[in-house]
């Protein structure tokens, strides 16, 4: 049976990304172990500092992505109902504009208005990652063949049954692609959360810049890259698993 494969998740090539991540982690460990570190570098690169930052980063990404899905998917569904067709275009335009604003700007503005901290960063991340989820939910539902909906209505499905039996399952691949984009965006933008005192790998990078310590900067950046690659790889696997069979 012919199937559309999600890039990078075919069984034969699925090991490539983990291999790259492993190489990067080994490489950076060897590098840090081989250069002489001064006291501030040793403090910044202490294992507990790195693991705390990594854990904060993962928390930021997971919490903000879950919230983005919880808001974006229902909103996208609502905006494709026949009663809200006009509103859909307006909301999409607004969300598009929001995407054009640089994320650091959103973050700083929100911090100025609401203060700093973990939840502030989460709000900024959600605001920023909402668009791909919202848009892909709407596009995914709208691209469902009208004939299928006609067939469903014709056999006596209610609007609700049409949504859950036909529209949503068939929109899943497009929606998953949007969620994957949101996840990757969140991994990147979450590095800026360091500026609002929410921690994460961004704090390692920014202290590397502030102290002008190259090893610290490199460790922070490479770990962010590794996290992004790992998240994308996991998302790809989830995408393949969750895609309905037969389409």
């Amino acid at each position: 049976m012919e199937r559309v494969t999600v890039p990078g998740t075919r069984r034969s090539t699925a090991w490539v990304v983990p291999a790259i991540v492993l190489l990067l982690v080994v490489g950076i460990t060897v590098y840090v172990g081989s250069v002489p570190l001064d006291s501030s570098e040793t403090r910044s690169l202490a294992p507990e500092v790195i693991f705390t930052s990594l854990w904060q980063h993962v928390q930021l990404v997971v919490v903000s992505t879950v919230l983005t899905i919880a808001i974006g998917v229902p909103l996208g569904v609502l905006l494709t109902r026949s009663r809200t067709k006009g509103a859909g275009a307006v909301v999409l335009a607004a969300a598009n504009a929001g995407q054009a604003i640089p994320s650091i700007g959103v973050l700083v503005l929100l911090a100025m208005i609401f203060g700093v901290g973990f939840w502030m960063a989460v709000i900024a991340l959600v605001a920023y990652a909402l668009l791909p989820v919202l848009r892909n939910t709407m596009v995914g539902i709208r691209q469902v063949d009208r004939a299928l909906i006609d067939a469903g209505r014709g056999m006596g499905m209610s609007a609700r049954e049409v949504l859950f039996t036909i529209e949503l399952p068939l929109a899943v691949p497009v929606m998953l692609a949007g969620i994957r984009v949101a996840l990757i965006l969140n991994v990147g933008v979450a590095t800026l959360a360091a500026f609002t005192n929410a921690g994460g790998l961004g704090s390692i990078i920014s202290s590397g810049i502030a102290l002008n310590r190259m090893p610290v900067l490199i460790v922070g950046s490479v770990l962010t890259i590794c996290l992004a690659l790992t998240v994308d790889w996991l998302a790809g696997i989830a995408e393949r698993r969750l895609r309905p069979r037969g389409i």
Partner: protein, 334 residues
């Protein structure tokens, strides 16, 4: 309820003065249409595009809400009943077939029983029974997905799905429109054979007059302006077209096409001619069409037919006699 025109036991579908008007269009899509469709009858709605035939079909299951008029199905006024309940009791087949690509063939067939709350194992049983009925081996096809089937097979699944809840009425909109001509003819014949077994009341929409003549017990020809130009049997439409529009729409070759509908037995009944017995003949059955009989004669290079009548009797008639009889036999207007 004595004034209910749809309550006769023979009547399955009754449309009374049904109209559909769209606010942004000047003229009615369907205007003041009245029609009676009998129980177990196969009625074909045919006409040029934009004549309102699909709108009429879709008003029967209220996918299009009529602006005016009333519709009875099986003696019940359905103009104001719950639409979802109504549609679960009416089979519906569309040109695009509309199988859900993410469900297996068996799941697709079992959709309406599922909506009706039938238990899972019962649904599965019913799906297998129906796949069997439309000539698809359940063990082979039940667990496949729609895209793994050919267009013709998919359309058979579409018919099986429409029959799943055993509805008395089936509405079909250009069901053979999307398959290639060879598969189409095969599907049409299969559909007729199926109808002989299940005896549903079928309303079929097509733009193809040949399909209409081949399938319909009665044909409703829609003219421009959504006028019902003629509603009669295929033979009547070919023999006595109601007006020039019907004559044009049926097109050239009506008299030859009539021969496919006339049975040899009926024709010779009216024939007073008797041919001499020295002819070379081919044997035909009284139930065969005149068209088929002529084909046999021409293929065999014979001069006439030898009709095998009931009780061992037979009757010989030459080509000229058969044609003259066929041309004379004009059915009485019903």
């Amino acid at each position: 309820m004595s004034e209910n025109p749809g309550s006769s036991p023979d009547t399955m579908i009754y449309l009374e003065g049904v109209s559909k008007r769209y606010p942004d269009q000047g003229k009615d899509a369907v205007a003041g249409l009245s029609m009676e469709i009998k129980r177990g009858e196969f009625v074909v709605l045919v006409g040029p595009s934009g004549c309102g035939k699909t709108t009429t079909l879709r008003m029967i299951n209220r996918l299009v809400e009529p602006t005016e008029g009333r519709i009875w199905i099986d003696g019940k006024d359905v103009t104001h009943v719950d639409v979802d309940q109504l549609r679960r009791g009416i089979g519906y087949v569309i040109q695009q077939i509309g199988l859900l690509p993410h469900l297996t063939i068996a799941e697709n067939v079992a959709l309406v029983p599922k909506l009706l709350g039938v238990a899972k194992n019962k649904r599965r049983e019913r799906a297998e029974e129906l796949l069997d009925l439309v000539g698809l081996e359940p063990a082979t096809y039940g667990n496949r997905y729609p895209r793994q089937l050919s267009g013709g097979q998919q359309q058979r699944v579409g018919v099986a799905r429409a029959l799943a809840a055993d509805p008395p009425v089936m509405l079909t909109d250009e069901p053979f429109g999307a398959v290639d001509p060879i598969a189409r003819e095969k599907l049409q014949l299969e559909f007729l054979r199926l109808q002989e077994r299940i005896r549903k009341t079928i309303v079929l929409v097509t733009h193809d007059i040949d399909e209409a003549l081949r399938l319909g017990d009665r044909i409703a020809i829609f003219g421009p302006g959504s006028r019902l130009a003629q509603f009669d049997t295929p033979l009547q439409i070919l023999s006595n077209p109601a007006d020039d529009f019907v004559r044009d729409f049926v097109g050239a070759g009506a008299s030859v096409r009539r021969l496919t509908l006339l049975k040899v037995g009926d024709v010779i009944g009216t024939s007073t001619m008797e041919a001499s017995s020295v002819l070379t003949t081919v044997e035909v059955d009284p139930g065969e069409s005149v068209h088929r009989a002529l084909e046999k004669v021409l293929a065999a290079g014979a001069e006439g037919v030898n009709v095998q009548l009931a009780g061992g009797a037979s009757r010989i008639i030459d080509i000229q006699g058969l044609l003259t009889a066929a041309a004379q036999r004009t059915p009485v207007p019903s």
